[in-house]
Amino acid sequence: MTTPLTLTPGRRADGTLLLTAVGEIDMTNTDVLAEALDAEQGPVLLDLTGVEYLDSAGLNVLFAHADRVELVATPLLAPVLTISGLSDLTTVHGL
């Protein structure tokens, strides 16, 4: 059984990809996340405000796309993003 995670693609006003994630991200569903991010070239805004859990496996995917991904997150995920150093590589909104 994979951990519940829904990824809803969308477009921002400037036409860049907006990916809204809801659920939890762990080693069982990182491939789903990776696939969604790889689906399109160019900058992506990943909205994690609906994500209650993000572990190092999820971080690994985000690190792999750090040069083109911007994040939106709640303070709940802030320690994970800060400690892993991801917030230094990419822009995180909402903190």
Binding site: Y53, A57, S84
Partner: protein
């Protein structure tokens, strides 16, 4: 079992035990085995009785001392049969011991034992102490005996001997002496049921002179016994000096006194009353105590009594003989006077016929041949002298016959006396003396017989001249108090004071150092006294040796004192009669100018009398001379004369020989090596023991000075070489006999002292022991030959090896020197090295010979008593320690400490060789591990365990013994320290104590086991074996005495996921309470499962309890907890309130829902309370034993419990339970049962899941829910969630990559201020290498960042991740 004494053991083994109530030895309990081992290994006299018949056992000492011929018959028999004859005495005592368990103590109890074939009077001091079986019940008794027969009977006899010698009067007649002795003998009828004293008449008939014990005439006590008769008593044998034992059989001996005992005597001892150097005086018949053997002691006692009576007879008879002799002498005196006066008459005629012609011849040859004239003068003078003597004798006889023809005429006494004095003037002048005649006329005349008065004055003047060599003679007459007083005084040599009383005695001559003549008849002064007496006057003399003598004659004036018919008118002055002439002439002959007709006084030559032979009683003579020839010569002479002779070569040897056994005389040369004769005498005289031994010195040094030196040193006689054999023998004999007379008293005293049962000693002022008796040597081993013993005495315990014993003796000795009296019990060392205890008593006294202060003391050997007391107290102390102990280790430790204290040991170890691989060491202080002991010690201890149990082994620093321990063989090892003596008694004590300990350990072990069984039982019925998470429980039974309680706790998992909680307390203790508890607990469980309402449950339980006896008033707390929410519904039946301790330390009591205890009001509706347990709060339920203390409000205990819970906030809940129990425990442990239940909310999360990634989400969900219950801040919970998620992911991804499905566990536990996570798997992680594998390193980094502490432990069994974080 019987190996401790091979001999007794063999006989014990031979007993058919199966036929006794004890059964075969293999079946005997440990306690009996131990008791038998102790008995057999003891050197003290002991017996014991065991079991329903009091089956008899004894050891070798008892067999030897007491049992006698009853051995081995007595072994295994009922004690009442063995000691049937004294069962009336000892039976009740044994009953007391068995009934009360208390020991008895009897001192010197009289018992009539049949152990030597006859009924024997014995005295025993003994103690009966109880013997217990393995369960502690008294089933027998042990008797430790010391026989005191010798002491008691010896003391009794001693008293009789002392009383016999206590006669206060100096002289007694024979009859008085015998009556006194009989009276004293009559006071000891136990030893002398009757006594008869027969004395021999000159014809050999024996006459009954005294008796004791008999109240009237008896056929066995005839008044006389002829020589040659044999009945009732033999006469001839004692007459020959032999003792005879007579059996008292036949009618003639019927009805003899019993001496205060049940039966009359069966034997009598006939003992001669020996006379020194003569036939016996008679004999003593002594009835003998039939209850005692006639041993040497008894025989010696009777002989001493006889000896005393003989000595008394001797002294009485010699007194009588002296009296008789004095009378005979007086008679002889009279006869002599009569004889002389008779013959004097006859002399007068021839004298006259001689004197007349001589006068004529002198006239005729007045101018003739001078030689003829001289010879005629000689004849004339001696005739006059003879005439004077004859006249004096005649005067005496006349006076005695009352035929003195006196004619008293009044005279001027001054004139008459002066005239008489003038007659002597020429002689006095010639002697070169001043002559002072001071005779003024008296106012009154004095009536005198002129003839008699002349004799008075002339005798006194002649006497004065004879003894005065320079100075003057004075004659004076005065009137004084109606008397004329005439004094004649000289400045002569004087009369010794001791001779003054006999001065006027007839025929008594005073031996003086110097006089003008040795002639004298000894009648002059006697006559003077008689003559003065006829005048109604008195004569007295005053004399000072070396200064002179003054005679004072007092004559009354008047005539009232004189017979009328003898008075005469005054005659014309008459010139002195011819009476004066012989006096003057005689006096002139003494003077140097006179012709030496008589020459110098002749010293009487020793006649050729036959040589004196040796003494009548053989005497012992010690010869000390360094010259072998001389020794042989002296020995030959003295042996030839019948002396027993011992010869030594110098003074030192002589001194030693005399001290060892004093002879009757020492004959010693003066010049000897090492110690010369004079020094020998001085040494002997300086020692009270030998001061009286007579010494005769032999020397080649002639001359007065040498002999004076010898005599001054204290020698009794002094003989100059060369000497004749006859002279030596004469002097030896005289000295021996003189000394025997002198020392009779001393010898009696010595005999008395030597016969004392107690040791006797005399110390001088410096504390040196200078005299001892035989008992002293018997007890201490030190004999008289090495006297004196100066302090520090050789029997003191060594200061270095036994400082304590040394101190004790030093203290007692200080008391002896300073206080002079006292009594001490002190340890001493026998000459052979073994330890003794003596009870010594002493007093100051004055040595009558020297006037020095001495200390006289006695002591007796109390070693046995001392060790009995020490043993009893040590056993008591050990028993107490063991009985107070609640466990085997405690009992053992207590016992080791007792042993350590008893022997002042450095250390005591006990090593148990049990089932464990390594022997267990227990010790005083901190015991080392077996491994820490030195290898040789380990080896020695291991060897000891193979030794027979209860047999001590000692070396110079330690003692050890093997003992049975419930867990296996045990070795006790006592480290004493170097040089500490461990005596035989110590060994015995050690084995006794070890035996007791073994028995005590078995008992404690049994109790231990029972207790553990009971506790296990209690725990089994107490509560669930699987507690829900978050709970901890404890049950503690009261420590002492062992009881199973009525407290319980319980948790019940209810079908809806809630948990029923019950804590209850039944009334009472013990098994009964436990059984009630069991029923209530089960009922409560069932009720909770049926209806999960605490109030309903308790109401139903009310009804149930009403039907269970003993359940009334049980208190119960019953609650139902929802572990998810922490909601607790509860009801209390009179139970102490639960305590809720919040995470911040505040407490809340669960006081709602309270009502009465169970079954008090059945049917009554019970209330219910609710309470939500907040996160990280702790609920404490308990029974009152936890918090209830005497004299303290319950609230104090509740507050303490709350504090204890809060202080344990960092502990896991199970550890917290332990902490609370120990913190609240009273100093001596709980004295009531305690049940305790703790719950901390929320209960820990414990999840086990297969190592598959699909499990991650559900596990995370469970953890998230649990974290919510913990009421943590959201971010904290998220951090914990991430950290746990990473750990779980690692376990799945790395631990079980190749073996998916293995189990991974997650446990999360909330402490009050802390949260802990543990994730375990069975795989092995690879060491994270962040550079090579960045994402793995990120996981670990996250964990470490999210939690305060993370440890990863990887091993063969798997990997464990532990993490925690503060949550306060």
């Amino acid at each position: 079992m019987f190996t401790a004494d091979p001999e007794i053991g063999r006989d014990l083994a031979a007993v058919d035990w199966a036929a006794t109530p004890l059964g075969p030895p293999e079946s005997w309990p440990q306690s009996l085995r131990t008791a038998v081992s102790i008995l057999l290994s003891s050197r003290f006299s002991m017996w014991m009785a065991w079991g329903p018949d009091l089956t008899f056992f004894c050891n070798a000492a008892y067999r030897r001392d007491t049992l006698g011929q009853k051995y081995p018959w007595a072994l295994g028999r009922p004690a009442s049969e063995v000691w049937a004859e004294i069962w009336d005495d000892i039976g009740p005592r044994i009953d007391t011991v068995l009934r009360t368990g208390e020991a008895t103590w009897d001192e010197a109890l009289l018992l009539f034992l049949k152990r030597a074939g006859y009924e024997e009077e014995t005295y025993h001091t003994f103690s009966y102490s109880p013997l217990r079986d393995d369960s502690g019940a008294v089933v027998g008794m042990l008797c430790v005996v010391s026989e005191e027969t010798e002491r008691v009977i010896g003391g009794r006899r001693m008293t009789t001997l002392r009383d016999l010698g206590s006669d206060p009067s100096v002289v007694r007649t024979e009859e008085e002496m015998l009556a006194f002795a009989a009276h004293q003998l009559g006071r000891n009828l136990h030893d002398l049921p009757f006594t008869l004293t027969y004395l021999f008449e000159p014809d050999g008939t024996a006459r009954l002179a005294a008796s004791a014990g008999l109240t009237g005439p008896h056929p066995a006590a005839p008044a006389t016994l002829s020589p040659g008769t044999t009945g009732p008593w033999p006469v001839d044998a004692p007459a020959r000096g032999e003792s005879v034992t007579v059996a008292l059989e036949g009618d003639g001996f019927a009805g003899l006194p019993t001496g205060g005992r049940p039966q009359p005597p069966t034997e009598a001892l006939v003992v001669p009353l020996l006379q020194q150097g003569g036939a016996p005086y008679g004999f003593l018949v002594a009835g003998l105590n039939r209850y005692r053997d006639l041993d040497p002691g008894y025989r010696g006692f009777v002989e001493l009594v006889a000896g005393h009576i003989a000595a008394g007879i001797s002294s009485a008879r010699s007194y009588e003989a002296q009296q008789r002799r004095a009378e005979e002498l007086a008679e002889l005196d009279r006869a002599k006077t009569a004889f002389f006066s008779n013959i004097s008459h006859e002399f007068r005629t021839p004298l006259t016929l001689i004197m007349g012609p001589v006068e004529e011849l002198r006239t005729r040859f007045a101018a003739g041949d001078p030689r003829v004239r001289d010879e005629l003068d000689t004849i004339h003078r001696n005739s006059l002298r003879l005439g004077k003597l004859v006249n004096s004798l005649l005067d005496f006889s006349r006076i005695e016959a009352g035929r003195m023809q006196a004619r008293y005429e009044p005279v001027d006494l001054s004139a008459v006396t002066a005239e008489l004095a003038s007659v002597f003037r020429s002689a006095v002048d010639k002697a070169g003396l001043a002559f002072d005649v001071d005779c003024p006329p008296l106012a009154e005349p004095v009536h005198i017989d002129r003839g008699m008065w002349e004799k008075v004055v002339l005798n006194l003047l002649s006497n004065a001249l004879k003894f005065t060599f320079e100075g003057s003679i004075r004659v004076a007459v005065r009137a004084e108090d109606g008397h004329a007083v005439v004094t004649i005084a000289d400045t002569g040599i004087g009369v010794p004071a001791e001779e003054m009383p006999r001065l006027f005695e007839r025929f008594h001559r005073i031996e003086t150092a110097r006089s003008r003549s040795n002639e004298g008849s000894g009648i002059g002064l006697a006559l003077v006294k008689e003559l003065v007496g006829l005048h109604g006057g008195t004569i007295t003399a005053v004399s000072t040796l070396g200064e002179g003598t003054r005679f004072t004659v007092r004559l009354p004036f008047g005539t009232g004192h004189l017979p009328d018919d003898a008075l005469a008118p005054a005659a014309s002055d008459a010139a002195p009669s011819t009476t004066a002439e012989p006096y003057v002439l005689e006096a002139l002959r003494w003077l140097p100018a006179g012709t030496s007709a008589t020459g110098a006084p002749a010293v009487p030559e020793t006649g050729d009398a036959p040589y004196p032979s040796g003494p009548e009683v053989p005497a012992r003579v010690l010869i000390a001379d360094d010259n072998a020839d001389m020794r042989e010569y002296l020995t030959r002479i003295l042996r030839g004369a019948g002396y027993q002779v011992e010869a030594v070569t110098d003074g030192r040897e002589a001194l030693r020989a005399v001290r060892a056994d004093a002879p009757d005389l020492v004959v010693s040369d003066v010049m000897m090596p090492r110690l010369d004769g004079l020094s020998l005498v001085r040494e002997l005289r300086g020692d009270p023991r030998t001061a009286a031994v007579p010494v005769m010195l032999l020397s080649a040094r002639a001359g007065q000075e040498a002999s004076i030196e010898g005599l001054q040193a204290g020698a009794d006689d002094y003989l100059v070489k060369p000497f004749a054999a006859a002279e030596l023998l004469a002097r030896v004999r005289a000295t021996v006999e003189l000394s025997r007379l002198r020392t009779h008293h001393a010898r009696w005293r010595t005999a008395l002292v030597e016969s004392l049962q107690e040791a006797f000693f005399v110390c001088d002022e410096q504390g040196a022991v200078v005299e001892i008796n035989a008992a002293f040597t018997d007890i201490l081993g030190y004999g008289p030959e090495d006297l004196p013993y100066r302090p520090i005495h050789p029997w003191w315990p060594q200061a270095d090896s036994d400082p304590e014993g040394h101190q004790q003796v030093a203290r007692a000795f200080a008391g002896l020197v300073a206080e002079g009296h006292g009594r001490y019990t002190v340890p001493v060392t026998h000459r052979e090295g073994h330890r003794l205890w003596i009870d010594v008593a002493f007093n100051h006294a004055q040595d009558p010979d020297t006037g020095h202060r001495v200390v006289v003391g006695t002591f007796r050997d109390v070693t046995a008593e001392h060790y009995v007391v020490q043993r009893d107290s040590a056993l008591a102390a050990l028993s107490l320690k063991v009985s107070q102990a609640t466990s085997v280790p405690e009992a053992l430790t207590g016992a080791l400490n007792e042993l350590k204290e008893l022997w002042r040991a450095r250390q005591v170890l006990a090593v148990v060789f049990g089932h464990h691989t390594e022997p267990a060491v227990t010790g005083t202080g901190s015991a080392p591990h077996w491994r820490e002991l030195p290898a040789d010690r380990r080896e020695a201890l291991t060897a000891l365990r193979e030794r027979p149990p209860l047999t001590p082994v000692t070396d110079h620093t330690s003692a050890a013994i093997a003992v049975e321990h419930p867990e296996g063989p045990m070795v006790l090892w006592v480290e004493l320290g170097a040089g500490r003596p461990f005596t035989h008694e110590d060994q015995l004590l050690l084995s006794l104590l070890a035996g007791h300990l073994a028995q005590g350990l078995v008992r404690v072990h049994q109790i231990d086991q029972q207790r553990e069984t009971a506790i296990a039982l209690q725990r089994a019925i107490l509560g669930p074996s699987d507690l829900p998470d978050g709970f901890a429980v404890r049950y503690e039974p009261a420590t002492r005495p062992l009881e199973v309680g009525g407290d319980w706790y319980d948790t019940v998992a209810l079908p809806d996921g809630r948990i029923g909680i019950v804590v209850g307390d039944c009334v009472g203790r013990g098994l009964e309470a436990a059984s009630v508890m069991g029923q209530l607990r089960s009922a409560c469980r069932a009720l909770l499962l049926q209806d999960a309402s605490p109030a309903q449950t308790l109401m139903a339980l009310d009804r149930f309890a009403a039907g269970v006896s003993g359940a009334l008033c049980t208190t119960v707390f019953c609650g139902v907890l929802d572990p998810d929410t922490g909601l607790l519904t509860y009801s209390s039946a009179g139970h102490p309130p639960g305590i809720l301790v919040h995470h911040d330390g505040t407490t809340r009591l669960l006081e709602e829902g309270r009502s009465v205890p169970l079954a008090v009001r059945p049917g009554r509706v019970r209330p219910e309370g609710t309470c939500t347990i907040p996160a990280r709060a702790t609920l404490l339920l308990y029974t009152d034993g936890l918090v209830e203390r005497r004299r303290r409000p319950l609230s104090v205990g509740i507050d303490q419990a709350g504090e204890a819970v809060h202080e344990g906030r960092d502990a896991a809940v199970d550890d917290l339970a332990t902490q609370v129990m120990s913190r609240l425990a009273p100093e001596n442990g709980y004295d009531d049962d305690v049940a305790l239940l703790l719950y901390r909310h929320p209960a820990p999360l414990d999840v086990a899941f297969p190592a598959e990634s699909s499990q991650l989400a559900p596990v995370r969900q469970a953890l998230r829910t649990w974290l919510e219950r913990c009421q943590l801040p959201p971010q904290t919970a998220q951090n914990v969630l991430v950290a746990a998620g990473e750990a779980c992911a690692n376990a799945i991804e790395h631990g079980h990559r190749h073996s998916p499905g293995e189990i991974v566990r997650l446990r999360a536990e909330a402490y009050v201020d802390d949260l802990r996570l543990v994730i375990t798997d069975s795989g092995q992680w690879k060491t994270p290498q962040p550079e090579a594998n960045a994402h793995r390193g990120r996981g670990m980094t996250l964990m470490k960042a999210m939690m305060q502490h993370v440890t990863v432990t990887s091993g063969a069994a798997g990997t464990t991740v532990q993490m925690h974080t503060r949550i306060a």
